[in-house]
C-alpha cells in the first residue's frame, strides 16, 4: 500500500516575485525536508494551465531541472482541477517501478493580469471549439447548473451563501490560506454577479500556489488506503441530466470499498468547491446530505470544523484558495498534516481517516482518495 512520507505547501497568493519553478521549488523542498532528494526516483508535476497561462510546456523537465533532479524521470499530469488527484493515481500505479515519487502541484496564474484573459485561461477547460466560441466560460457553466439546482429544489440565492461563509470562517487561522477573513450573508448578497445567478463570492479567485507530497512504496505515517476515479460527459449539452453527478458517487464508493471503511469512519472530507452549487452537489453525491438538502445542512453547522462531519476544515478552494492544477496536491498535503496532528489553525482533533475529492471541469473527472494514519 502506498504511503505519504512528506508534504509541503506554499501560501496561496499572488506571488509576483516567484516564477513557476520558484513556487515548485519551495513546496518540493518542504516535502523532502526529511528525505534526501537522491532517494526520490521520479517526479510527477500536477498543473493545469502552464501552456496557456505561462507559455511554458515541457514543464516537468524544467521543474525537475530547477530542483537539481534533471536526471530523474519526470512528466506532467494535466486534468484541470483534478490534476493533483490524477497525479496521485499515476504515482500509486507506478510504485512497482519506482520506490519513492515526488508529486509537485503548481499553478502560476498571476502573470495573466487582465480579467478577460484570466477568464479565457480558466475557461480553456470547457470545450473550446463548441462552447468557448459561443462566449461561454467556466463560470457560465456553473451558473447554468446553479439555475437548474435552484429550480429543481426551489432554492433562493441566499441558500448558496452558507457555503462560502463557512469556508471563509474555516480559513481565518490557516497560515497558507489566501482569504483569511470572515464574510457575512449581507456580503454574499451584495457580491456582484459573474454570470447570473452565480456571484463573485460563489467562486474562488485565481491565484498562484504550489504543494508537494512524497509517495512511498514502503510503510509511512499516512497511508493511501483507497483511490477511485470516474468521469462524466465533458460537454454539458451531452449530459442527459444537468445535475448528474453519479460519477462522484461511483469514485467515492470504489475508494471507500478499497479502503474497507464506512462513511461514518471518516473524520473529515475535502471537496473541490469551485462553486457553491458544485460543493452542494458533491456533498449530496457523497451521501452526506439528501438531494437538495446540502444548503440546509450547511446552514445547520453539520459540516463546520467542530460539526458532525467537517468539510474543508482548511477553507476549501473558496478561501484557502484555488491554484487549479495544484489544488488536489494541496488537499493531500493538508490531509497529511491533519492525520499527523500538525494542521495548526485548522486541525480536526484526533482525525484518523479522511476522503479527498479532486474534480476537473464540471466534475467531468472525479478522483477520490481515502487516507488513514
Amino acid at each position: 500500500m502506498a504511503s505519504i512520507i512528506g508534504a509541503g505547501l506554499v501560501k496561496v497568493s499572488n506571488h509576483w516575485n516567484m516564477s513557476i519553478e520558484d513556487l515548485a521549488y519551495e513546496a518540493a523542498e518542504q516535502a523532502m525536508k526529511d528525505i534526501n532528494s537522491e532517494r526520490i526516483d521520479a517526479i510527477i508535476v500536477a498543473n493545469a494551465f502552464s501552456g496557456v497561462a505561462n507559455g511554458q510546456e515541457n514543464l516537468a523537465a524544467h521543474i525537475a531541472s530547477s530542483l537539481g533532479m534533471a536526471r530523474k524521470p519526470s512528466f506532467k499530469v494535466e486534468l484541470e482541477g483534478a490534476s493533483g488527484g490524477a497525479a496521485l493515481l499515476a504515482a500509486c500505479s507506478m510504485l512497482s517501478r519506482y520506490e519513492r515519487i515526488l508529486i509537485v502541484g503548481v499553478e502560476k496564474l498571476s502573470d495573466v493580469t487582465s480579467l478577460e484573459d484570466i477568464t479565457s485561461v480558466v475557461s480553456s477547460s470547457i470545450n473550446r471549439e463548441h462552447e468557448g466560441i459561443l462566449g461561454a466560460t467556466i463560470y457560465s457553466h456553473h451558473a447554468l447548473m446553479m439555475r437548474e439546482y435552484m429550480r429543481r429544489y426551489k432554492l433562493e440565492e441566499r441558500d448558496f451563501g452558507y457555503f462560502p461563509i463557512m469556508m471563509h470562517e474555516n480559513a481565518v487561522n490557516v497560515p497558507h490560506a489566501q482569504l483569511r477573513f470572515k464574510v457575512s450573508m449581507e456580503d454574499y448578497i451584495e457580491s456582484p454577479y459573474v454570470s447570473t445567478p452565480l456571484k463573485l463570492m460563489d467562486v474562488p479567485s485565481e491565484a498562484d500556489g504550489a504543494a508537494a507530497i512524497v509517495i512511498s512504496r514502503s510503510d509511512g505515517p499516512v497511508k493511501v488506503s483507497g483511490i477511485g476515479f470516474s468521469g462524466n460527459e465533458a460537454v454539458i449539452t451531452h449530459r442527459i441530466d444537468q445535475l448528474d453527478m453519479e460519477n462522484i458517487t461511483a469514485a467515492f464508493s470504489s475508494a471507500m470499498r478499497e479502503a474497507g471503511i464506512d462513511i461514518k469512519d471518516l473524520d473529515f472530507v475535502q471537496i473541490h468547491d469551485t462553486s457553491s452549487v458544485l460543493a452542494y452537489l458533491q456533498i449530496e453525491s457523497l451521501g452526506l446530505s439528501d438531494k437538495g438538502k446540502a444548503p440546509k445542512d450547511t446552514e445547520s453547522g453539520k459540516f463546520r470544523r467542530d460539526g458532525e462531519i467537517p468539510i474543508n476544515p482548511e477553507g476549501g478552494m473558496k478561501a484557502r484558495g484555488y491554484p487549479v492544477g495544484a489544488s488536489g496536491v494541496y488537499q493531500l498535503a493538508e490531509s497529511y498534516m491533519q492525520l499527523q496532528g500538525t494542521a495548526d489553525g485548522y486541525q480536526v482533533q484526533g482525525a484518523k481517516n479522511c476522503a479527498v475529492v479532486s474534480l476537473g471541469g464540471l466534475a467531468s473527472s472525479c478522483v477520490v482518495a481515502v487516507l488513514r494514519r
Partner: protein, 135 residues
C-alpha cells in the same frame, strides 16, 4: 493572445454551425449537439448526422457579466441551454431580447448571427444564436 479564433477550426465547423447539424443515434434514437461519433446516451457507435429543428425552449439561462477575451464588446450577453423540439440540447446565446425578459420555458428559434469579430485579422465568425420565436 487568448482568443483562439482560427480559420481552420471555423471552416471545419461551418456547415454544422450554420445549419445546426447534430447527431442522431441509430440504436436508441437520441439526438444531440454538437455532433460526435458516439451516442452520449447509450454509448452506441452507430451515429449519423442529423439536421436539428430550429425551434425550442429555454431550459436554463445565465447573463454573462465576466466575459472571456474577444467578447467584452457584447457584454452583458445571455447564454442559454435550449431544448429543441426533438429533445436535443443546444448551448447558445440569446439575441433580440432584453436579458431581464428571458424566462425558463420561453419559446425560441435559431437565427444566424455574428458570434464575434476577431480584431487582429478582421475575420468575422458567424454561427447560431436563438431569438424569441415568432408566432
Amino acid at each position: 493572445m487568448y482568443s483562439w479564433l482560427n480559420v481552420p477550426s471555423y471552416w471545419r465547423n461551418k456547415s454544422r454551425r450554420y445549419m445546426l447539424i447534430g447527431g442522431k443515434c441509430r440504436d436508441c434514437g437520441h439526438k444531440f449537439f454538437p455532433f460526435r461519433r458516439t451516442c452520449p446516451k447509450c454509448g452506441s457507435r452507430s451515429v449519423i448526422e442529423e439536421k436539428l429543428p430550429r425551434r425550442g425552449r429555454v431550459l436554463e439561462h445565465t447573463v454573462v457579466h465576466n466575459p472571456p477575451r474577444g467578447y467584452e464588446y457584447y457584454t452583458p450577453y445571455v447564454l442559454a441551454l435550449v431544448e429543441l423540439e426533438d429533445g436535443a440540447k443546444v448551448l447558445a446565446q440569446l439575441t433580440d431580447v432584453d436579458p431581464e425578459e428571458v424566462k425558463e420555458g420561453m419559446e425560441v428559434e435559431m437565427s444566424l448571427r455574428i458570434l464575434r469579430v476577431c480584431g487582429e485579422s478582421g475575420f468575422i465568425a458567424y454561427g447560431y444564436k436563438f431569438r424569441p420565436a415568432t408566432k
